[in-house]
């Protein structure tokens, strides 16, 4: 693959994730408004927000580490763009992916959270560092069950860590979710996704009512806009990744209808996420750790064992 091709894929990945992510953010806010019996924002609201934020003044607080403070949003945005490009390329050419891209994707998906931690600690604000430390604990809580849940499709597809191979296996042998271990792992990964996207009940890092935006408290203007854009892009990338692993519905080679089908499933996942967000209170960080380590991780281990037994 030449450099030009690589840049092209990156651009496509970035644009697709940004556009679909903005739609996802609008959908989230609109459904929230409907749940609360309101009208909700207009369709282009995320675009207005982004343009406004990009045009505003960026303030670097006194005592902050200037380089880290301003570069942290870029790390997150770059990582999400690369994941998006990788996933889209895998869907288009399942044969041409490299061995181990699954691990690369898992690694890259934690970088946006780490960027939030870096930015929070660089901004020299006690509330921001509180948000940063909470984000760190949140990563420690959900990352283990998330990886365990992802092991299930890996085992099902014949011990392969190549995303393309998992997709192809599902095209011939049926979706991973059509088994007991697949269902358990999918539900666990949906819960971990909620934590990864820092949505209620797991939104302790930004907790608006107690630590006022937490990690983002000192961010303004374009830097805040890039953080928001990264969050919205994650709302496309993570569900898309899970759909590839568990449902395999994005396999467009069989029929074009599969793309419509994938869209419907994606909106279903978004709807689930939004309804969970709207019907739950925010958990404390110790409750979250107990929930993930004492309840979710053992269930994930059971799912992996079931997958080994071929169920």
């Amino acid at each position: 693959m030449s450099i030009v091709q690589g840049i092209g894929y990156l651009l496509i990945g970035f644009l697709a994730a940004a556009i679909i992510g903005m739609f996802a953010h609008w959908f989230d806010r609109k459904i929230t408004a409907k749940v609360q019996w309101r009208v909700g924002p207009p369709f282009f609201q995320p675009l207005y927000d982004l343009v406004k934020l990009l045009a505003k003044e960026v303030i670097v607080p006194e005592g902050a580490s200037r380089f880290l403070f301003l570069s942290a949003p870029l790390f997150g945005l770059a990582a999400v763009s690369v994941v998006s490009a990788l996933l889209i390329r895998t869907v288009i050419f399942p044969q041409q992916t490299f061995i181990g891209d699954l691990i690369v994707v898992i690694y890259l998906l934690t970088i946006p959270s780490q960027a939030v931690i870096l930015g929070a600690f660089a901004s020299a604000n006690p509330l921001a560092s509180l948000g940063g430390s909470r984000e760190m604990k949140l990563i420690l809580s959900y990352e283990l069950p998330f990886v365990l849940a992802i092991l299930v499709p890996v085992i099902k597809a014949g011990d392969t860590i190549r995303l393309g191979a998992i997709l192809e296996h599902q095209a011939t042998h049926g979706a991973v979710i059509a088994s007991i271990s697949g269902v358990i792992a999918f539900v666990i990964s949906l819960i971990c996704m909620q934590a990864k996207l820092a949505k209620v009940p797991f939104d302790v890092p930004e907790a608006e009512t107690e630590i006022m935006g937490g990690a983002y408290i000192e961010y303004s203007g374009a830097a805040l806009g890039l953080f928001k854009l990264t969050q919205w892009m994650m709302m496309f990338v993570v569900p898309f990744f899970l759909m590839m692993l568990f449902i395999g519905a994005v396999n467009w080679r069989q029929s074009w209808l599969n793309i419509v089908w994938a869209g419907i499933i994606y909106i279903g996942i978004l709807l689930f996420m939004t309804l969970v967000r709207n019907t739950n209170p925010r958990l404390r960080i110790d409750q979250i750790m107990k929930f993930f380590w004492a309840k979710i991780t053992p269930i994930a281990v059971v799912a992996v064992i079931l997958a080994f037994l071929g169920l």
Binding site: P41, K52, Y216, E218
Partner: protein, 144 residues
């Protein structure tokens, strides 16, 4: 420049700054977010940090202690940021004007872009005030 102001008028994030109010105006501000008025239709959102704000809603008559804090908070906002005085107290100090703990009116301390009178002002009045501010900004843009 024009795109900047247009996007700003479509997505105003407001920060709620209570400078020693009696809490009546604050309750009416929160009314704006309820299903009956729902200002999120126009992209207006309450934010927790003043760094994210495009408009600062000041309520209350601003006593000696609140004055210093208010100055600092307004200086911390990212420009362009509007200051909107809500309620008679913020507009003119009203009956607290000659009180021992009041120093000066809000417009001596900060540049106020819109005054919304009332004790407390109705949510409809606040929406009208914000609409007037947006229209004034767009009109100023057209003249340029």
């Amino acid at each position: 420049m024009s795109l900047k102001i247009k996007a700003l008028t479509k997505s105003i994030w407001v920060f709620h700054l209570a400078a020693s109010p009696c809490n009546n105006c604050d309750i009416e501000i929160l009314d704006l977010l309820t299903p009956r008025f729902d200002v999120e239709r126009f992209g207006i959102q309450l934010v927790g940090s003043v760094r994210h704000a495009d408009a600062i809603l000041v309520t209350g008559s601003m006593n000696r202690k609140a004055r210093e804090r208010l100055k600092r908070v307004i200086a911390q906002a990212a420009k362009p940021c509007f200051v909107i005085a809500i309620g008679n107290c913020a507009c003119s100090m009203e009956m607290f004007g000659k009180s021992y703990n009041q120093m000066e009116c809000l417009d001596n301390v900060a540049e106020v872009d819109a005054y919304i009178a009332g004790c407390p002002p109705k949510p409809e009045a606040m929406i009208q005030g914000v609409v007037a501010l947006i229209q004034a900004q767009l009109a100023a843009l057209k003249k340029k």
